[in-house]
């Protein structure tokens, strides 16, 4: 036996196209749905229905100060993953609030799975807006302390538990310099 996650329709509201009915034996009503995400537009539709997920894409990361190309990935609440039908790689989040209402610290936490230097760059380049308590809680909650230690999140949040070895400060600075912010009009 295993637990299954499905969505059910409440009332007679029109069902957005990202909700795909799960096939049922003939004659039985189709009342359970999975979430099918194939494109950025699907992500928008799902988010409008309060499905806890967001797209981690190069444009968002660039807008936070780290220009990089990478295939978009889907960040989704972990409980939702079994109900997802997607061709994006999925990064599961334990916090469904963070998946539904991500802050830039959450983007940084997700980026640890894609490009850890990028995660650190996002924090550095929005340093004035960091909420250290929120960042600390999110790193611990998502159990990414080792990756966070590697790129020295503790420089920004000294209370962060250190797990594993950090990259030397000089090497990190060099890597960050290799991907400078490219603002045209600061």
């Amino acid at each position: 036996m295993e637990a299954a996650v499905t969505f059910v329709r409440l009332g007679d509201d029109r069902t957005p196209s990202v909700f795909v009915p799960i096939s049922k034996p003939k004659g039985r009503p189709r009342s359970e749905f999975r979430v099918r995400i194939r494109s950025e537009a699907d992500v928008g539709l799902a988010r409008r229905s309060n499905v806890p997920l967001f797209l981690l894409d190069a444009r968002t990361v660039a807008s936070l100060g780290y220009p990089i190309e990478f295939p978009s990935e889907l960040v989704a609440a972990r409980w939702l993953v079994p109900a997802l039908d997607t061709n994006f790689r999925v990064i599961p989040f334990l916090s469904d609030t963070a998946a539904l209402h991500p802050r830039f610290e959450d983007v940084a936490v997700a980026m640890l799975s894609v490009d850890a230097i990028g995660a650190r760059a996002i924090l550095d380049r929005n340093r004035d807006a960091i909420d250290p308590v929120y960042l600390l809680r999110r790193v611990v909650q998502e159990q990414v302390e080792e990756k966070a230690t590697w790129v020295r999140f503790f420089d920004l949040v000294p209370e962060l538990p250190r797990v594993g070895r950090p990259i030397p400060k000089a090497a990190l600075d060099r890597k960050l310099r290799n991907n400078p912010i490219r603002e045209t009009f600061g």
Partner: protein, 191 residues
């Protein structure tokens, strides 16, 4: 950068380089809300590049323009309080379907104001310029920072209006919508 330093830089451009200009970029925003910009950006007419090159060629207090060509070229000015990066930007990339200097004329006549004898662009002009360039996403930190610091979200709508004037409404609207949507990344909501 504090507004006094911006005023010093502006006074230097006016007295030493002698070209008409409008302060744009974060320095223009800084007049209204503190955003921590690190350089001074000024908008000039296309025809003023050669005067600028000549004026900066052999100075002791500033470097020659770099790169040697282009629509955005910078100098480093040595002031008693330290080095200041000054970027000169000519208007043609922002004029869209209209002649090269139309954008500069428009900003001077309708979208700027004078304070302490210096002409500053409106916030909407700054946002439009950030949204209008190739690689506009890279201007995200500035736009998101300014929105966070208190620049009204309606400034994005005003930037779209400027885009309409220069035949770039649809792309500017799409880019403005992107940043409007990303503003939630700095929403103070907590778990």
């Amino acid at each position: 950068m504090n507004p006094q330093t911006v005023r010093k830089v502006a006074a230097w451009i006016r007295s030493e380089l002698r070209v008409p200009f409008v302060v744009v970029g974060g320095s223009a925003i800084e007049r209204h809300v503190s955003v921590g910009t690190k350089d001074v950006d000024v908008l000039i007419a296309v025809g003023d590049w050669s005067s600028l090159d000549s004026a900066l060629e052999h100075r002791r207090d500033a470097t020659p323009l770099d790169p040697s060509t282009g629509t955005i070229r910078g100098t480093v000015l040595m002031l008693p309080e330290g080095r200041v990066d000054v970027e000169f930007i000519s208007g043609q990339p922002f004029s869209g379907s209209r002649p090269g200097d139309d954008f500069v004329v428009y900003v001077r006549n309708y979208r700027s104001s004078i304070s302490h004898g210096i002409r500053y662009a409106d916030e909407a002009v700054v946002f439009y310029m950030r949204l209008a360039v190739d690689g506009w996403e890279a201007n995200g930190p500035g736009i998101l920072r300014d929105l966070r610091a208190g620049v009204p979200g309606s400034t994005l709508d005003a930037a779209v209006e400027i885009g309409r004037r220069f035949g770039r409404q649809s792309e500017i609207r799409e880019r403005a919508a992107f940043f409007r949507e990303k503003a939630h990344l700095f929403d103070p909501r907590r778990e």
